[in-house]
């Protein structure tokens, strides 16, 4: 892929920095009609770290304090550090697999910090940053990747559902949950995370239908990271993803997914709509998966370095750092302290993974049913007898 075609895949910035309204780009061969129209991209912070005005969304971050800005930065740095540690642990054979979020920190932290405690999150399997915002201990996320369980946390402990591996299934769970929230007369909201690849799934389309029909208080947060394993977004759609919402009768908005401030603002707006009984919203966070799909993937087979370099220039962490520095909201002491905190987190994660015990053998038979099942009881007893036969043999 050439630099040119990469640029064609990348939407221009919002009207506040460069007016593109009404213009159409010429879709280049191989870059797909998905980006054929030039959509507005909500952006509050440029890649150079400059704060730009946005009449619609500024109000949602108007009162943000320097401390809160440093908090967002801290969240992104620690999440990236955790992610890097998990990737290393996979390379060292401590994890069977890891799905890295590298590059998507702003989309996840921005949206995650927009949530209230009573909101409920339905993630896919890459929402480590959202889990961080929910207060799920990051080491809990690693159990399923190490192979000691298929979940590992209590979904109701932090209103953060288990990771869902089947693409897009959770959007329906989120919709149903949101329907329940509305029935209860509660004013909390639900957010469903999914990717550009999942947007092709029928379940996502059905969740749009159900949420619109029942006016469910759910925010669909699509992280368009440009690649569904090796398939680019143009293999998923002929129109920009956020425009899908229009056909279902609710608003869709495309936000710069590498701009934590814009993600925070847009998600807050969408959540407030949901709370106010105005129904679902689709947010498309336009971002980039800098690493592989998972540690089993090899992106060098399907994309060039130029594309990555172009996106690295838009790094979500770097741009907030530039803004913090330029506005004197953070000093060297803050960054040094955070660096130390980062290393401590990496160490803690490494030690926790290595100390993770293998599950008890009988865990196979636990919680298959809530009320029990005769066959499970029978097979558990057979398994116990089989296990005991080794003990007997050893005892001889």
């Amino acid at each position: 892929m050439t630099v040119e075609s990469t640029a064609a895949r990348t939407p221009r910035r919002s009207a506040s920095t460069k007016s593109t309204a009404g213009k159409r780009t010429t879709a280049k061969k191989g870059t797909g009609a998905a980006q054929g129209t030039d959509p507005q991209l909500v952006q509050l912070l440029t890649p150079e770290g400059k704060r730009v005005k946005n009449a619609e969304y500024d109000t949602y971050v108007a009162g943000i304090t320097p401390e809160e800005l440093r908090g967002l930065y801290r969240d992104m740095v620690l999440t990236r550090r955790f992610d890097a540690e998990a990737t290393s642990l996979q390379r060292q054979g401590e994890l069977g697999l890891w799905a890295s979020l590298l590059g998507q920190e702003a989309a996840q932290i921005g949206s995650g910090r927009a949530l209230r405690d009573d909101d409920y999150v339905f993630p896919t399997y890459r929402e480590h940053g959202v889990a961080w915002c929910r207060g799920v201990d990051p080491t809990n996320l690693l159990g399923m990747f190490r192979g000691v369980n298929n979940g590992g946390w209590d979904p109701n402990g932090n209103n953060f559902h288990l990771y869902t591996i089947v693409i897009g299934s959770q959007t329906l769970h989120a919709t149903g949950y949101a329907m329940g929230v509305a029935k209860d007369g509660a004013d909390s909201a639900v957010i469903a995370y999914f990717g550009d690849g999942a947007s092709s799934q029928g379940d996502v389309a059905e969740s749009f239908t159900f949420s619109a029909v029942y006016n469910a208080p759910v925010v669909f947060f699509c992280q368009n990271n440009q690649w569904a394993i090796s398939e680019p977004t143009e293999k998923q759609t002929r129109v920009p993803l956020y425009q899908r919402a229009q056909g279902y009768g609710f608003p869709g908005v495309r936000v710069d997914g590498n701009d934590v401030l814009a993600c925070l603002a847009v998600t807050k707006w969408a959540l407030e709509r949901a709370r106010a009984g105005e129904g679902p919203t689709l947010v498309e966070a336009y971002t980039y998966r800098m690493g592989a799909h998972t540690t089993s993937d090899d992106p060098t087979r399907y994309r060039g370095d130029e594309e990555r370099l172009a996106w690295e220039a838009k790094d979500p962490i770097l741009r907030l750092r530039r803004y913090l520095e330029a506005s004197n909201h953070a000093d060297e002491g803050f960054f040094a302290e955070l660096e130390a905190e980062s290393e401590a987190l990496g160490r803690r994660v490494r030690e926790a993974v290595r100390a993770m015990p293998d599950p008890d053998h009988f865990a196979i038979f636990e919680n298959v049913y809530a009320d029990g099942h005769a066959l499970v009881d029978e097979e558990r007893a057979q398994f116990a007898a089989y296990q005991a036969s080794f003990a007997d043999a050893e005892g001889v």
């Binding site: 979940g151 209590d154 919709t175 379940d203 636990e366 809530a370």
Partner: protein
């Protein structure tokens, strides 16, 4: 007063009504379940009495129906969803198998999924394709699901009560060709366990094991066989997962012969599982191999051929004769 004669479909309707009345968390969901009362009228009148927020007409999207029911269950509701016909469950199969069945285990028991999936199933009503299938074995193979099928009005009433009260997902197969069969329903009786089989006719020469629509057929077979001097015991299995092997074993130890009858294809069907396990449990009691009568390894045929495909009196009697000839 408490005991009343009613059709099987009406018994389910009354049971759903009772559940809606007694637990505000119970919801009915499905295509056409509201004003129309369902294509078989099983939910007739429920929306009128309980409102659109309790008895919910859904978009025509089976995965969406089950997927949103999962979300509602996670929020504390107890959804009872209707799949309009057996062959339409497959768009929802992914949600049922990858999500509904496994979420309790994946959460290490922290979340419960009290979802009932009602499926009118089986043939014999002269329908077009995808309206007459018996896919119960496809669900029984999946750990995390419970599968039941009543054969009469009383069971339909009580088993539905128990399915709704269960904290596990239950696939509730309704024998659609028996919907209009009437039976006594005692709404105050204390029901037996949901997953227990029941001897519905005592006999000494051979056991016929069946569930759902085939129980009535087997009772007719036993009556016909009795005229020829053969004493057949008929076992209504009632539950496909778990299966009540103790009850089957007890009957086989008495009669020494077993014929399993179901509408679903014989190949890899529930009869195969029963035959294998009963052979293991009752090897020295059996006088004949366990025989199976069911559908063929072919798509469910057009209506004009379904009488050839479905187990009927003659095909079951033929199997009985073969078993007795050993």
């Amino acid at each position: 007063m408490a005991a009343e004669k009613m059709a099987l479909a009406k018994a389910i309707n009354e049971s759903l009504r009772r559940a809606l009345e007694s637990d505000p968390k119970v919801l009915i969901m499905g295509e056409d379940v509201g004003k129309l009362g369902g294509v078989f009228r099983v939910t007739d009148g429920l929306q009128k009495d309980f409102g659109e927020s309790r008895v919910i007409d859904t978009p025509l999207a089976e995965s969406g129906i089950v997927g949103t029911a999962i979300g509602l269950a996670l929020r504390g509701y107890r959804p009872v969803v209707e799949i309009q016909f057996d062959g339409f469950v497959f768009p929802a199969y992914d949600q049922i198998v990858t999500q509904l069945a496994k979420m309790h285990a994946r959460s290490l028991g922290k979340v419960k999924l009290p979802v009932v999936v009602r499926i009118p199933y089986g043939g014999g009503i002269g329908a077009v394709e995808h309206h007459s299938e018996s896919p119960e074995a496809l669900f029984a193979h999946v750990a995390g699901l419970k599968i039941v099928s009543p054969s009469n009005a009383s069971d339909a009433y009580w088993m539905m009560q128990q399915a709704i009260q269960s904290d596990d997902p239950v696939i509730f197969f309704e024998p659609k060709r028996r919907y209009w069969d009437k039976g006594e329903v005692n709404t105050e009786a204390i029901p037996g366990p949901l997953h227990s089989a029941r001897v519905v006719r005592e006999g000494t020469d051979l056991t016929l094991a069946a569930y759902g629509p085939m129980v009535k057929t087997c009772l007719e077979v036993a009556a016909a066989a009795a005229e020829e001097g053969k004493s057949l015991e008929v076992l209504d299995l009632r539950s496909v997962s778990p299966l009540d092997f103790d009850a089957i074993q007890a009957s086989v130890e008495k009669t020494r012969r077993l014929v399993v009858v179901h509408e679903a294809p014989v190949f890899f069907g529930s009869g195969a599982e029963i035959a294998a396990r009963i052979t293991e449990r009752c090897f020295y009691h059996l006088e004949a191999p366990v025989l199976r009568v069911g559908g063929y390894h072919a798509p469910y045929p057009p209506a004009r051929l379904e009488e050839e495909y479905l187990p009927g009196l003659d095909r079951v009697l033929d199997a009985v004769d073969r078993a007795l000839a050993y």
